[in-house]
Structure formats: C-alpha cells, structure tokens
Symmetry: C2
Subunit: 341 residues, 2 copies
Amino acid sequence: MGRNRATLADVARRAGLSKTAASMVLNGREGTRLSAEAHQRVFAAAEELGYRPNVAARSLRTRKTATIAFVSDIVATTRFAGGLIRGALDAARERDHVLLITETQGDAAFEQYAIEAMLDRQVDGVIYAAMATRRLAVPPAILSGPVVLLNATSPEALPCVLPDDERAGRTVTTALLEQGHRDRIALIGRARLKERDPEVSLAAQARLRGIRDILSGAGATLLAEAFCGDWLPEHGYAAMRGLLSKPTRPSAVICMNDRLAFGAYQALGEAGLAVPTDISVVSFDDDPIATWLRPGLSTAALPHEQMGRRAVEILLDDRGTEPVLVPMPLRRRRSIATPAS
Amino acid sequence: MGRNRATLADVARRAGLSKTAASMVLNGREGTRLSAEAHQRVFAAAEELGYRPNVAARSLRTRKTATIAFVSDIVATTRFAGGLIRGALDAARERDHVLLITETQGDAAFEQYAIEAMLDRQVDGVIYAAMATRRLAVPPAILSGPVVLLNATSPEALPCVLPDDERAGRTVTTALLEQGHRDRIALIGRARLKERDPEVSLAAQARLRGIRDILSGAGATLLAEAFCGDWLPEHGYAAMRGLLSKPTRPSAVICMNDRLAFGAYQALGEAGLAVPTDISVVSFDDDPIATWLRPGLSTAALPHEQMGRRAVEILLDDRGTEPVLVPMPLRRRRSIATPAS
DNA sequence: AACGTGCGCTAAACTGATTTAGCAGAGCAT
DNA sequence: ATGCTCTGCTAAATCAGTTTAGCGCACGTT
C-alpha cells in the first residue's frame, strides 16, 4: 500500500533545498527566513511528485496522529449508532482527522484489547459512546488522554454529550396539550429498572420528569401509566391492549420510544381504532420506522448526528467539563389530532 | 495520550540487554541465539513496565500498520451496515488488526479525501463496501494495494464478497412450495431500474432469477408481479392493495425485501386479512422489523456479519480472485402457512 | 600455536518526518 | 580591518522501533 510514495527528502532534493527547508515551507511555518523563491520551488516539487506526508513518521516526532478513537459498547453497529458515527466522521473531517472505530460488544476483555490497540496507535483522544443514554464506568486506560463521553455520563464528571430528554418530554407533552388533550393522556413505557438505575438508562427518568412537569403545570395528571419490561414492540402492543381494556379510553398516548409506539399501532389496528382520529400517539427517538408507520409517527428525534459532531468538537476544540445537552426536535407527522369529543 | 509509555529502550535497559535483543525476544524471532535467561529477563522487564510497542514507530520501519481501511458509500451508518462492520471488526481483532472506518456519503470529493487520509496512515489494505449490492467503479487510488470489495463487484474483477441472492430466491420460493403454494404466488417489488442496471443493484435480478428458477422447475408461474418504484414500505403497501383489487387473490406473496413486506402487512391489516391464514408472506433481508411484525416475518437473511468477516479474511489471508458468495439463511417465523383451500 | 567455528550478543544504520542549533555571507558601523 | 547583526539556509539530533553486519569469546581441530 503506497509503496512508491515520494518522501520529504525527494521533495527537498527536487527543489534543491534541505529537508528542513521543505518541511518548514510545507508546514507554513512563520518566521523562517526562507525566500519567496524557495517557497515556490518547494511547492512546485511537492505538487509534481504528488507528495503526501507519512503520518506515522510525523506522529513519531510530534506525538499527534490526527486520529480519534471512537469506542462504543454496541452502538457502532446498530441502527441507533449510524448518526453518531456519521456526525463524528463529518466533524473529524472538517478538522482533518480520521476515526478509528471499535465496539466492545459489552465484553470487558474485548474492550481492554480494543482500547489498548487504539492507544498503541497513538490516537489523539477518545470518544467513548454508549448505545443507551446512561451513566457508566470509564475504563481507566483511556483516562491518560483527552476523552469525551457520548450519550453517557460518568462519576468522574468527564466532558460529555447527552440528548436533552427532559426537554423532549416537555416538547412531546406540550404538543398534545396544544391539540386539546389534557385529562385522557396515557403513558406507555414506565420501567422501574430504567428509571431507577442510571447505569441502565438516564432517558427514562428524564423523559418522565419532562412529561410530568408540563402536565402538572397544566393541572393535569396521567390517565394511566403502563409498565413495560423493555421498550420493544411486543411490550408496546401488550401495554396498549391493557389500556384499551379499561373503562376510560385514552385520547392520546405517549410512548417512551418508537418501538413501543409501533407495538401500540399494532394493537390499535387490531382493535379497529384509527390513529389519530380515535387516539393520538407521540413518542421519542425518531427511529426509521416512525416514517414507515401509517400514519407517520410524531416523535422527538434523538439528534444523533448533532451529538456525534459535538463530541468531536468538544474533544478537539473547547472541551469544557459541563455536560452538553443537545435538543431533541419534534418531528411532526400525522399521528396527533384534536380529540373527538 | 499515552505520555509516559515505556519504550523498547526502557525494557532493554531494565533487562540489561540491547534494544536489538529486546526486540528480537519480544517478536519471537527464530534463529537468534539469545539464551533462555535473556528471554526471561526481557519478558519480565516488559511485563513490569507494562511495555506496549509504538505502532507508528514500528510501521515506519516495517511498512505494516495492522490497520485496515473500511471505506463505504453510505453503508457505515445505516441499519444495514451494522453487521458488516461488526463482522469485520471481529475478524480483524482475531488477526490483531484494527479498522479505520470512513464513509464517502456518495460524494466523490469526500471519497477522494477520505481515501487519501487513510493511505497517509499507511493502512495495510482496503475494504470497499457498498450499501446496496451492486457493481461499482473503484477509485484508482486504492488500487495501489490490497483491496476487497464488500457487497459489490467491479469491472476489474477484484476479490469480492457478495450475498448469494439467487440462491436466496430459490430458498424463499421453495419454502412456499413446501407448504403447498404453487399457482397463486404473487411477487411484490419488480423494478426495471434495479433489474437492469448492475450499478444500481445486483440483488433484484439475482433474486428474481432464483424465484423463477424454482417456479419453472415446479411447472408454475407467478400469479402476478407488482412493480415498485423503490423498495420502501409505501411501495409495498400500494402494491399489495393493487394485488388485492384483482379477481384472484394470491395465496402467498414474495416481497423483494422486508420493507416492502412491512407495507404489504399494513395493506393486509387494513383489508382485514390475516397473515398467514389468509395470505402467506416471505421476504428478503431480515431487517429488524421482520421480528417486530405480527406475525413474525419469514425472510432470507442478509448475512452481514459473515460478509464483513469474510472480507477481512480474504484481505489478510487467502485473497483468491473468485467472488465469494455467502449464503442467505431463511429465518423461519410465522408468516408462512398452508393455503386455506 | 594458529586457525576455524559456533555462540551470545550489540553497535549502528534505517524508516520519514520535525526541530534545534548554528553556519556562511552580506551589509554596516566603528 | 574588525566586529556586529541580519538574512537565508542546512547539518544533525530526535522520535521508537527493526534489521543488518559483525564483534569477542570459548572450544575444537590440525
């Protein structure tokens, strides 16, 4: 790979100057007293030879590789991860950096290995990402250099980027109130474990807080709250059936994520009820299925691309320690309407 | 990052030997006449200092970085990509390699930049992946070293890994025949563009070929073939409605992918028809939604993980030039049944 | 005693960049 | 003529490894 690449020495020779001169010119060093003509010759030579510096050689001296490690638990290869990586990739490119990506598969040994492999390659910093927004313990090895947590926090109070789930809870609830829903709003996706253990989820609690905040502001309470073991379609389906079996039918349901909402749609379809005329549905995440459902699901989007982007920016540019909360915009589709009566 | 790492010189000093000796011992070189005791001392010193070689320094001399470039069009960040990357990551790790991942966003300038950035880092080889199985033109820059195409072929006949779509077509059709379907099988997802232009898709034609092969072997033909502009749920929905409006209702439909099948389910639900009692459905891809649908969708799975894995294996180990076809196993769920009458 | 041989190990070159220290020559003042 | 400063450039060290060439010693042979 790249066997006959021209080296700096080649460029210097062709320009009739020393390596020193060539290096300084190509790096745009100020204060060297090299003549305009010398500059010309170096640039011309580099151009003609198609010179590209050898990053390994350079980094040996400078200890900079223009490479960022992107380590995640299992985020890198799931549908949820795409945006995170894409945003990070974009921001990295703008700063002339490149990403070394690994995922740990949730396996500590694998993680250890992966992190060492990246540190061996002298990465300039590490982005440590989690699939579910949660608190986690950062492997000590990566603390030797700059780190940014993505979609996660840690006891060490490292710089981190999180979605603003609480505000999303408010957004979603407000969208319902604006349409006239108030006293018959149900919730699907209460989950003790997710709400209690920050190492499992930070989103559950935050979203719930946002929802309740707006509701109590309007002097209302939830009509019903369905608990779910997990946030998968089957749980949403079961929860929705449960809700429909009660005397008072909700006018709207908030689902804790889109997969639950998908399940809810299935139950509604079977019951012969139509979204949104019979029941409105809102949700969180903006999973691809949200656009595929009929009618399209209104949902507060996890701003994955933005988050990935911010992580790189923080790592490379500012790096303050206060958590960065990225807003979750509401994608308005056709699943919300004014209640029938 | 990694500021106080021990160097080989440190290890050598501690072992009371030369760098040469330390290097040879740690690399397990045969034929050096270093004593067993010298071996001991070097290993002990390395262990005590937590020595890890600096990959940049090593690669400067050896021109090997144990790093593979994974370049894709937009595969890296979509739900379809996950498995490809995961498989590649796994196989790479087994060979002590690491992945530099980029996606080109379908933009030639970006691609040029990304590839150069990776070559600058002296990668040992390139895996060039496409999201849709198709033929593509490989950027000349990467031809300077080992390349494997993933989910793609090229006019240059480079080594490549592809899913065995034709066989999948046969698998899926056979599954239907086995249940007694024969003369009322419809197809959703014919698409002229995809079938004609290998630069758009190789899957469409191959799947169709497999389906027809089995059908004609059984002396049957398709009851109906619905054409779709693309393979999204909305197209599947429209196609299914079209099929249902005809005099003879199919006993089974084959959808060209799971998203179409999802749309088909929606149309069936609205029409009050049940899967699989009224109509059986089979499909291709094994998208996550296949498990979420009610009933679960039987589908020939794109073996993404296997494919990613094979690509690395071919790149690093054998590298024959004949295309590698990876089988697409049928995931049997509940969407196929014996036709009613 | 001189010579060849195998053993156990090391000095130094090399990879391709950056960076430090400093040299030669011109111009000017004393 | 001497010393000083400034200009324009370069030699050599450095980063952390790998690799080549070969050194000194003990032993056996003639």
